[in-house]
Subunit: 196 residues, 2 copies
């Protein structure tokens, strides 16, 4: 039974439930998340939870959505900021911003990337990726001469996927590569692929 909150207290409740879901995911992990546990963590009864979420999946979706909205905000803002710069002047700060954003919530990122099946969030993840691919594609289209006969959309697809994955894995696996070295490598990777 999906209701639209009409009173203030119920809107607070939705917030508390999302917050609790986040806490349970980080503290107990994805497998241990039950609607009963989320309700308990939120100090709310299971029945109340189901007044605002149709099922368990919807709760998780809401938690993930809140996180990825914040992330999307930061990334696209950072990208848009430097869309007029060229080459490394644009690439390096963007990668730094991405790494910062991911590291800030590394524990939750681990849950999303390693514990939740990818398919569960495919729609949300892909929407975010599509949005960034669009941005980067437009950027590349504006400087098409650089690319030879590579299509901008293709180049954007490759770049965005690669950078996203590499940064996420770097943050989660903490390989024995100093951050500075890692960033430089990514910049080199991008620069080699998009010659100017």
């Amino acid at each position: 039974m999906k209701k639209i909150p009409q009173q203030e207290r119920s809107r607070q409740m939705v917030g508390r439930i999302i917050e609790a879901g986040h806490a349970v995911l980080v503290r107990d992990g994805y497998d241990a998340l039950s609607t009963n546990r989320v309700a308990a963590e939120a100090g709310v009864s299971p029945g109340s939870l189901y007044q605002y979420f149709p099922n368990k999946e919807a709760v998780i979706e809401a938690v993930v959505e809140r996180y990825s909205d914040v992330l999307a905000e930061r990334i696209t803002a950072s990208l848009a900021d430097r869309i007029d710069d060229a080459g490394p002047a644009m690439v390096r700060p963007t990668i730094e911003a991405l790494l910062d954003a991911l590291e800030e919530n590394a524990e939750f990122l681990r849950v999303i990337a390693d514990e939740i099946p990818r398919a569960e969030n495919s729609s949300r993840t892909e929407a975010l990726e599509q949005r960034i691919v669009g941005l980067v594609g437009a950027y590349l289209a504006a400087r098409r001469a650089d690319l030879g006969d590579t299509r901008p959309s293709t180049a954007a697809w490759v770049m965005v996927r690669a950078i996203e994955h590499l940064t996420v894995r770097y943050v989660l696996e903490h390989p024995t590569i100093p951050r500075e070295e890692f960033v430089s490598e990514l910049v080199r990777l991008v620069a080699g692929y998009l010659p100017d």
Copy 2:
């Protein structure tokens, strides 16, 4: 109760169970896989299944292991074959081989990559990655002059992760990029990153 099969028929049973697990994963998906269902699919009783597998997870592990052994075999063989070639002469056939191997079993790849939580197979996946990173790292170390001050191990980490992820996503998402174009892009990506 993990038993070591002593008679021929029981060895056949283990094989049938693994085969059934594979079939259930592909046909019904990860969430729908129960030990009872696997047993039924194998034409075997649940009790018998537990004579050879300590728990459900072990069954899945065995199924995944069989798949990733085949994959590892093909990739490392292909890599080793061309370890003496230089530049694109080595890179392109390797990527082609990787794409071939992934496409051959795309349905099962989807289950592994999109439905099973990554953490479930981290040990197996990482072992495979480590092995390939080792191979590539050794290759790069042998031609260290090319890399400037980038450490071979770092370059290998970046390359292997990037190529693996991009090829998997390409196979699973079937973006509107022709295969030939995609391969050329990956070759360009590698060539740009590892100048010679």
